[in-house]
Amino acid sequence: MQFIKPDINIDFIGKRKFAYGLSLALILISIASLILHGGPKFGIDFVGGTVIQVKFQTAVPIKNIKSGLDTLAIGNSSVQSFGDRDDHEYLIRTDLSIATGERLSDQIQKALAGATGSAAEIRRVEMVGPQVGKDLRQKALFAIFYALLFIAIYISGRFEFKWILTGLMAVALMGAVYFLSLFNVSIPFLILVALLVTLLLFWLLNLKYAMGAIVALLHDVIITVGIFSITGREFTLPIIAALLTIIGYSLNDTIIVFDRIRENLRKISKSPMPVIINRSVNETISRTILTSLTTLLVVIALLVLGGGIIHDFAFALTVGIVVGTYSSIYVASPILIAWQERTRKK
């Protein structure tokens, strides 16, 4: 059985302007949403606060829960339903980092049971102090940045054999970022600048494969973050893990295509680049679609059946896989072409 005929020949490269347009639109929408909402919606992992997961025996209207909480001194709180409807679980979130000592858990249970008439069970409590939240924010940004750098080294090494050059560049960047981070500079700003500098360096050092890959990855991350922002979901530590996984996974696809391109370059070096790239993408599309399909199958199983805690994580992965597949086909390779045209114009 075969979905995709072996002699498939879609003109991906020819359609690349359209793909550029779509990608640009998606990125702009993402950034617009982020600006509109004042940045990503951070969970307590990154801004501090307390989250309490409560389970009731019977269905309970949220306003009863809220009125029950009003009697307690827990600051600004929000209540959200969580997981399956039948589980009757709710998430209470406050911006105060309250240590649930001093019989607070008992007080909450009593107040809620009283206000809703249904027995309340506290299933989970998470509290993150503001300093820890700040630390985790920084750690997450560093993690993403370092991962991108390592990947850049690997790709430049494997595809352009420029191990040492990229290695030195990466070490220099990491050192500079670390050094500057000690000076109380705003870390997000620092990482952003570092990323732009990195891309600039790719350009100057002619590391086109690394550039193509990293641009595709940034494209995936921005759009995933944007969709999270649009759907009002929170950023927590697991979501950052999902982003890094998407980076690793999306790269798989990109490398498969780059591999083919390299192989075909050797085989039919006479043809122009766009033709080679087209051919390579067509040859690998069967595998790309198949893998994405099977991975989506399992991730969607996780999304639907995995329960509330892992739900957002599975959602991030789903979005990331779809966008990642698209970017491997329509974003990474065309960048190589854009490069070629630039160098040819010179």
Binding site: M1, Q2, P6, Q53, A99, T100, G101, R103, S105, D106, E121, R123, R124, V125, E126, M127, V128, G129, Q131, V132, A140, A143, Y146, I151, Y154, I155, R158, P238, I240, A241, L244, T245, I247, G248, Y249, L251, N252, D253, I255, I256, D259, S286, R287, L290, T291, L293, T294, T295, V298, V299, I300, A301, L302, V304, L305, G306, G307, I309, I310, L317
Partner: protein
């Protein structure tokens, strides 16, 4: 033939080892081996991060030095205009009179050489000095405070009796505590967080506590409260006491603390034993202050202030108060383990109830099962015979991951289960790469054996490339992540490694078996 038997041996060995490691988790009675560790989010428990307020430890030392200086000045009969601790960690002194100033300088040089002089003005026969501790001294105190806090907390938790607690330090002054399976999180937090500084001080019976409350606190004394929770109304009753600041005896001299029941009122109390030096000090205190009241203070709260009836030798004392069996036991634990050198604050807490843990495991496993079944069916339908080989490799994959987790004693968390599920989807990738190549080669007209050879060889490099990048992401996650995220990074890494192994070695083996030994003529792919 030789090649195959070599590889077959390796695969069999790996498979058997993995199965051996996995068994204890499912059949714990069969093997007394290590089980798979479950993370707190799957077995329930509490994760705490404490921050040790090490600056307070420095302040405490400076306070002690200030007291010693005051005693020294008194002994040498140096009249002091003022001696205060300012800014937490500095001591300011004002001395008048030439003779006093000289004696003061001599005292400093003799007994207080460690103090660093920040400012010194000598004008019109008045000496103003501000001193503090030099950097390396205060840094040393802070480091030691953090270490001591860790040890004391470990001691307390050991006595509390938790199954396999994990206590370690994180950075300069943070302590990470994981208590799996704990039910009474409230008690545990109070036990861990209590500074538990036990002090014996005399009541200031020369002055009135009411006038002190109005703002007129006499020098050398302070107002401390006794907080009692009325058993019926559950309300707090605060009683003020005027206490002389000077600490006569601390809990450092304790050798033991036990819970006893008072035979008269049938109420629990804590009996403490002092060491020889402490016993002697206690004897002196009680002898010199008969009929006066001695306050027993814990963390600046008065527990009780009994009247000293007579001189007490032998170094045994009682702490009574409104105790329940539980609170008495906790106090005894805390006194035995010793006071924390500095207060600790809880800066991060994640507690999962056991019911949520089992639910998470169930949901995760169901998702894995359903997803897995989908993939298995899909592969069988799309690639037919070869698909079944890939499916077998997939199942072996899961066993290998489970075995790896048990062998390395890594922790399985809910994101970790998600990682296994992800691996199921991604493991297919390697096989797809190989099979698509084989199909291509077959289409070019090669024989099955040649097609399989070419397929595996060509695909191998690409498979390595692609999976290494996932591995890089997983390693970065492992480095930067905590708890559940680390669990995810571990299963992802194990999954990637095992899927490469099963795709390149195991699948190849099965193909070769069918092609060379069974001499199958046509590939079902």
């Amino acid at each position: 033939m030789k090649k195959i038997s070599w590889r077959m041996v390796i695969v069999l060995v790996v498979a058997i080892v993995a199965i051996v490691y996995t068994l204890p988790t499912f059949l714990p009675t069969l093997w007394p081996y290590k089980k798979i560790n479950l993370g707190l989010d799957l077995q329930g428990g509490m994760h705490l991060v404490l921050e040790v307020d090490t600056i307070k430890a420095v302040e405490g030392t400076v306070e002690r030095i200030a007291q010693e200086l005051r005693t020294g000045l008194r002994d040498e009969r140096i009249r002091t205009a003022a001696l205060d601790r300012i800014g937490g960690t500095r001591i300011s002194v004002k001395i008048t009179g030439q003779e006093n100033i000289e004696k003061f300088q001599k005292l400093l040089d003799k007994d207080f050489k460690d103090l660093r002089i920040l400012s010194k003005t000598l004008q019109d026969g008045v000496l103003d000095m501000v001193m503090d501790l030099p950097e390396n001294e205060s840094d040393g105190i802070r480091l030691m405070a953090a270490e001591q806090a860790l040890e004391t907390i470990r001691n307390r938790i050991d006595q509390f009796g938790v199954n396999e607690p994990d206590i370690r330090n994180q950075g300069e002054n943070r302590i990470l505590i994981q208590l799996p399976g704990i039910r009474d999180t409230q008690r545990a937090k109070e036990l861990i967080g209590k500074t538990a500084l036990l002090e014996f001080k005399l009541l200031d019976e020369d002055h009135d506590v009411e006038t002190a409350l109005k703002g007129n606190v006499p020098a050398g004394s302070e107002v401390l409260y006794q907080v009692v929770i009325d058993k019926e109304t559950l309300r707090e009753i605060k009683t003020p006491y005027l206490i002389k600041k000077r600490t006569l005896l601390t809990g450092a001299y304790l050798t033991d603390a036990k819970v006893q029941i008072d035979s008269q009122f049938n109420e629990p109390y804590v009996s403490i034993d002092l060491d020889k030096k402490g016993a002697r000090i206690f004897e002196t205190i009680t002898a010199e202050n008969v009929k006066k009241r001695l306050a027993i203070i814990l963390d600046n709260k008065v527990y009780s202030a009994p009247v000293i009836q007579e001189k007490i030798s032998g170094g045994a004392a009682r702490i009574t108060g409104n105790f329940t069996a539980e609170t008495a036991r906790d106090l005894a634990i805390v006194l035995r383990a010793g006071a924390l050198p500095a207060p600790v604050n809880i800066i991060e807490e994640r507690t999962v109830g056991p019911s949520l843990g089992t639910d998470s495991i169930r949901k995760g496993l169901i998702a894995m099962l359903v997803g897995g079944v989908f993939v298995i069916f899909f592969m069988a339908i799309y690639y037919k015979g070869a698909g079944l080989i890939a499916d077998f490799a997939l199942l072996l994959n899961i066993v290998l991951i489970a075995g790896g987790l048990a062998a390395f004693q890594a922790t399985l968390t809910l994101p970790g289960i998600a990682g296994i599920i992800l691996t199921i989807g991604m493991a297919v990738d390697a096989n797809v790469l190989i099979f698509e190549r084989i199909r291509e080669e077959l289409a070019l007209g090669k024989t099955p054996r040649a097609a399989v050879d070419a397929g595996f060889n060509r695909a191998a490099l690409t498979i390595m490339d692609a999976n290494i990048t996932t591995l890089i992401a997983a390693l970065v996650l492992f480095q930067f992540g905590t708890g559940p995220i680390k669990g995810f990074a571990v299963t992802l890494s194990l999954g990637v490694i095992s899927s490469v192994f099963t795709a390149l070695v195991v699948s190849r083996l099965i193909f070769d078996y069918f092609l060379r030994i069974r001499r199958v003529k046509q590939l079902s792919i």
